[in-house]
Structure formats: C-alpha cells, structure tokens
C-alpha cells in the first residue's frame, strides 16, 4: 500500500529525514519509535503532504502511484489520514459541520454524491458511540476548549468517519490518561481491516500494549536504524534509546 524509498526531506537547508525506506502492506500495523528529534513527526508530515517540509530526494508511493506532487487534500481524498499530535482549533465551526464537509469533499473528489443528511447522522451516532464520545462535543467548536484527551479522541472519531486506507497516528497517546488510551486504542483496533493499514508513531511502548503492531521500526537521526517485531518495542523500553544510538 505505502512504499517509502530513500526519502530525504527537511526544512529550508536543514535535512531531517536522511534516507528512509519503509514498506507498509494492507492489513498491517507498523510502529515507528524513536527519541525526540529523530524525525518521527516530520515523516508523518511529509507523507500527508505538509508543504512546510521540502522533499529533496526519494519517493512516497501510495498504491503504486507517487504522491509527492499531490496536495494534502488530494492525498486525503486517496485515503491518507493523519491524527495530529496537536489538533488545531477552529472557532465557530462545529465538529459535526467540519467532518460533514470533509466527508463530502472526499466523496465529491471521488465522483460520489454528497452523503444524505440522514445517513450522515447515523454514521456520526455510530462512530461517536464507538469512541464513547459525549455527543455534546460534536456541536461545540472544533477542538476549542477541548482537553488534550478530548482532542485526541476527536481525531480518532474523524478517522472513524473518514475510513482511511492509511492512517498515521502521530503521538496519539500523548495527553491521554489510561482509560482514554484504552478507548482510543479499542477504536483503532475496531477500524482495522484487511484493506487498510496503520502507522503508529509513538515515543513510548505503552500504546503498543493496546494497538499491537506487526512491525516496529526505530528512527534515529532521520534513518530507520532497527526493525523488528512487536518484541522490539519491549526491548527498547527496557534498554532505553541509548541502546540503538
């Protein structure tokens, strides 16, 4: 599904990613771990198309097609979703209105009719229940005044609504207490199918107790320095990041 080849990227003259190679197949969960500043968040930004970063070499291929020339919204229409580490506030725009717009824009881009209001409401009810969300959040301004945990839960709610092919969870565990973490992880697990894939970016092993990865990669100084199965995360937790440096 996703193939990253020799990816180099950075901001202005500063290189951050220095030759990433990664292949994610449908149905798989990959965890990317690494110390602060290793390039984890840059990787998710580059995959989703954030223009603040410049790709200097290599390629990002989604379903046999390079996406480097596509804008972030075009990539989203192809099924890329990123759960933000710091979700953005949009005053005056309700979560319901926002997600409705997002879904209909995606449908429009893919040549589909807008989702009828009745079906939209049904979908919202179903997905908010999955994440045990208090529905009053849905009529509030997007992320405005939400706690850290509420924001993250809202991200996964949007993921559930959009049903992406490739979901990137950027430090989704940060700011979550253990109960919220379980609910969010449970939501992600229920959304897993044979057709979609998940990349979990995290600093700690904790989240991986609940979203069990098929592969774990360790990022250091813009490169993947070690890959393995889920036991690699446990080993890292025990030995610390100094071990791989």
């Amino acid at each position: 599904m996703l193939k990253i080849e020799n990816l180099h990227a950075g901001v202005e003259d500063k290189g951050i990613l220095k030759g990433i190679n990664l292949e994610v197949k449908a149905g798989e969960v990959h965890a990317i771990m690494g110390p602060n500043g290793s390039g984890k968040s840059t990787l998710s930004s580059v995959i989703s198309g954030n223009e603040a970063f410049e790709v200097t070499d290599g390629d990002v291929i989604l379903e046999d097609e390079s996406v480097l020339e596509l804008s972030p919204d075009e990539r989203a229409h192809k099924g890329v979703f990123m759960s933000f580490q710091y979700p953005i506030e949009i005053p005056g725009v309700s979560t319901t209105n926002f997600i409705k717009t997002a879904i209909n824009e995606k449908r429009k881009a893919n040549g589909e009719e807008e989702l009828p209001a009745k079906d939209m409401l049904k979908l919202i009810r179903e997905k908010s229940a999955l994440l045990e969300m208090d529905r009053k959040f849905l009529s509030r301004s997007l992320n405005e005044g939400f706690s850290g945990g509420e924001k993250k839960r809202n991200e996964i709610f949007q993921m559930a609504m959009l049903e992406p092919k490739l979901a990137i969870l950027d430090e989704t565990d940060s700011g979550l207490d253990i109960d919220a973490l379980k609910i969010v992880a449970n939501g992600v697990n229920k959304l897993r199918t044979k057709e979609n894939a998940v990349i979990v970016i995290t600093h700690y092993q904790r989240l991986l107790d609940y979203i069990v990865p098929d592969f774990v990669h360790v990022l250091h100084d813009g490169k993947i320095v070690k890959s393995g199965g889920k036991e690699l995360a446990l080993e890292l937790e025990a030995k610390g990041y100094d071990w791989i440096k």
């Binding site: 020339e69 804008s71 919204d73 989203a76 933000f84 005056g92 725009v93 926002f98 824009e105 995606k106």
Partner: protein, 482 residues
C-alpha cells in the same frame, strides 16, 4: 503539477470579476451635473413635492454649504467633486403605479440578473420588495397585501404625497439636517428610498425589503429610508445594494431613520455589496451612510449588517436608547479585500433607565485593505443601570492588510455596567493544513474558517439573507492568504 497553491487561488480571486458588475442600457433621464438651489428645486418639482418639502430641502442645502467634509475617519480617498455629479437619474420607463407588464423589459432582465424576481417566488418567501434603481423606486410589490393590515410600504416620494403628515412628523427627527456633512447633502438632494409605517399592535407578516442599484454612470445615489414602528408593532426590514463595475468612483450617501415607539421592535438587516473597485483599487463606490434609530420605552432596535462592497465605507448604524428599558443591538460583519477601506461601527446612546445594548463586530481584512471598527458607548447621567456588552473581533488574512479598533466609552452614571472584549487573529497555515489533511481544499477551508468566525452575526440574519451573505463572504474573501 496538479497542486493548487494559495498563489493560484489568490490570482484567481484577484482576476475574478465583480459578479454584479453588469450595466443595463436603460433609457434614462439624467439631470445636468452640479448642485445649486435650482437643481434642488428641479428635483423637488420632478417629484411633484409640496412646498414644505422643497423648503426643507433648500434649508438642508444651505446648511450643507456651510459644512466641511469630515476627515476623522481612518480612510483615504480623493474627495469627491460635488459639482461633477448628477443628482437625479431615472430610468425613463419606470412608473411605480403601472403593473409589471408595463415595466421596461430590460429592467426586468436586470432584476433577473440581480436574482430578484418580483413575482410569485417572492410571495412564497413572504418578502415585499421596493426596488430603487439610480434615483427612483421602480417597483413595490405587495402593497395591497400590506395595506390590509394598515401597513404602509412605498417609495418615500409617494409617501410625501400620500401621507405628508406622517413624513413631516418623523423625517429628520432622528438624523437632523444638521447632523453631518453627508446627512445634510442627502436631506437636500435625496431622490427616493422607502417609507414604512407599521400601525399600533401590528406584527408585519412578511419581511420588507428594499433593493438599491446604481445603474447610470456619473450619478450619485442619495436615498432616504424612514421606518416608523408604532406602539407594540414589529417589523423586519432587509436592504440589499449592488452597482455596476466602473472606473470612476460613485458616491452613495444615504440616510436611514428608524423610529421604534413604545414596546415596538425593528430589525434592520443590510447586505451591502456596492462595487468595491478592481484589484488595483480603481473605481468603486464611496459609501457614506448615516443610519440611526430611536428607541422609546420598552422598545428594541436591532441592526445587522454584512458589508462586503464599496471602495470606501463610512457607516455607523446607531441607537438612541431614549425610553426606559429599551434595547439596542448591532451585529456587523465587515469584509475588506484588495484596496478597500472600511471605517464602520456603531453608537449606542443610553438615555433611559435600564437600557441595554449589545455590539458584536466582526472585521475581516484581506489583500491590502484597511478595516476599522469605530464605536461609541455613551451612558447618560440619568441612565440608571444601563448595560453594554461589546465584542470586536478581527481576522487578518495575509501580511499587507490592517485591522483597527477605536472604541470610545463615556459613562456619566456609576451604576453602568460596560464590558468590552476584543480579539485579533490570523488564519494560520496550521489551520489550513489541518483542513487540507482532512480533504478540504484551501479555498473551502478559508470559507469554513471565515463562516465560523462570522457565525454569531450570520445567525442574526433572516434565513434567505443569511444564505446570500454566506455566498458573498465566500466570493469577497476566500482569496488572500499568504
């Protein structure tokens, strides 16, 4: 590259034409340029006015001659040459007393372009419309339906003939001839506008609407609107404006007076979309408008405005809260793009006890425009327990525009409660990226963010106006981030 960048968007919007910029070739009767007592007498004669009206105009003209154009507003523009304007222009074939079948077909075609259908469609929407093209009212719909309730809704020129006592009693009582330079000018030369009277205890069953259009070149438009809501009555009034795109600046100096007698309520909504000039700041309407309402005991006046047009806007819809327990409200969205300049806000004058006012102002600046909020909250010595809440929010797009806030507060009563909140924000790259990542392109994202920002005010507009206003916001602004 299939990437649609903000630069592309900006370019597209800059080159996008003003949607209402068409000019209709109507056979028009236009007075020679210039202003003097003879011209005023000629206007008055053209309108078949009684002598008191002619004298009233002449008096205003003499006052105006002694006045100077105000310069305190935060706007810069070449001062209009008042002798280079024609003060009367009328589509020749317009006659409000004839049926629609008699109306110039080109005029009807123009209404169609404006999205106005003066027929059953409006009936379904329950809106009665008075349309003013250049200087005269050309059609007033639903006069009869309204007359059954005793509601008078007609061109002010007709009202002067048919209801001289009412007009005489109220005209100039809220905005006197001496009020300011443009109000004095308007009092001397106003050529049409609407008059509306709601009798005691009557709730007007439909929205009343006036549509203003400047069509002829080299003319100014000076309309005058007078709305009187008698005791315990209610009316919701809508006003829309467009003009053709022209290289020259056209002058629009209107006066609107609202009178809410005891226990009455007036809701006055405006969507102002005069031609704003092109992307280089050429042309556009100078919009110098005086709007004021007076509230008697227990009455309420609510102004809602969406200002997207005009090269220069100078406008402060205000409330004089004379009666005890009266309420004044001002909800405004002012959008400026390219080289537009707006200096707009309100005055809330608290005279009576327990008077309340609310001000919600949303300024959105883009391009190289300047957008100022100017407001006065004045609590008189006798206004026990007066309360005001003001909120002024500014949204900036790009780095070349300006947002300014000039709030004035004068309180002479210790029991007053006055609150003022202000925020300034910018549409951030991070907000846009967040929307983009969810599949919402930049253009749509800006519309979404701006609508969210303006929501409190949009919600105050009557339904069909809110839709139009939302569309206008998208057209006027989506452009200029970067």
């Amino acid at each position: 590259m299939s990437k649609y960048t903000e630069d592309d968007l900006r370019e597209e919007l800059e080159t996008q034409e003003y949607e209402y910029g068409f000019y209709t070739d109507l056979d028009a009767e236009t007075f020679p340029k210039g202003l003097n007592e003879d011209i005023i007498r000629a206007i008055s004669a053209k309108k078949n006015e009684p002598e008191w009206m002619t004298d009233w105009r002449l008096d205003a003209f003499r006052i105006w001659e002694q006045m100077e154009e105000p310069e305190w507003a935060n706007v810069n523009y070449p001062k209009p040459d008042f002798q280079a304007i024609s003060y009367y222009s009328a589509p020749k074939k317009a006659d409000p007393n004839k049926s629609l079948d008699d109306v110039d077909p080109e005029l009807l075609e123009m209404y169609k372009k404006l999205g106005i259908s003066i027929d059953e469609q409006k009936k379904l929407q329950g809106v009665a419309v008075d349309i003013v093209v250049d200087s005269v009212s050309v059609a007033t719909t639903f006069k009869e339906t309204l007359a059954e309730k005793g509601i008078i809704f007609m061109p002010i020129s007709e009202a002067i003939q048919e209801y001289p006592e009412l007009v005489k009693k109220y005209m100039g009582t809220v905005v006197p001839k001496t009020d300011n330079f443009y109000a004095a000018l308007n009092s001397a030369v106003f050529t049409d506008g609407s008059f509306c009277y709601i009798p005691k205890g009557v709730k007007c069953p439909m929205e009343l609407s006036t549509y203003f259009r400047i069509n002829e070149g080299g003319t100014g438009q000076f309309e005058r609107t007078l709305v009187v809501a008698d005791e315990s009555s209610y009316v919701s009034y809508l006003e829309g404006c467009t003009a053709p795109a022209r290289d020259e600046n056209q002058l629009h100096a209107a006066v609107v007076e609202l009178i809410a007698l005891d226990d009455a309520e007036i809701k006055y909504s405006t969507v102002q979309n005069w031609f704003p000039g092109d992307k280089d700041g050429k042309g556009g309407v100078f919009n110098f408008v005086t709007k004021r309402g007076i509230c008697h005991t227990n009455s309420k006046i609510s102004w809602t405005q969406v200002e997207t047009g005009s090269a220069v806007t100078w406008k402060y819809p205000s409330c004089v809260l004379k009666g005890d327990n009266s309420v004044g409200e001002f909800y405004s969205i002012a959008v400026t793009n390219n080289y537009q300049q707006a200096d707009t806000g309100t005055k809330m004058i608290h005279l009576g006890k327990n008077t309340k006012s609310t001000i919600i102002s949303k300024g959105i600046s883009a391009g190289k425009s300047q957008n100022s909020y100017r407001g006065l909250v004045q609590i008189n010595g006798r206004a026990e327990n007066a309360r005001n809440f003001s909120q002024c929010d500014s949204l900036l797009m790009g780095n070349k525009c300006g947002a300014h806030t000039f709030p004035y507060i004068e309180s002479k009563n210790k029991s007053a409660q006055i609150e003022h909140e202000a925020t300034t924000s910018k549409i951030g790259e991070d907000q846009l990226f967040y929307c983009n990542q969810r599949g919402i392109d930049t253009e749509k994202a800006i519309a979404l963010i701006v609508n969210g920002f303006s929501k409190e005010v949009l919600n105050k507009l009557p339904m069909e106006f809110a839709v139009e206003a939302q569309k206008l916001l998208e057209i006027s602004l989506e452009g200029s981030v970067g």
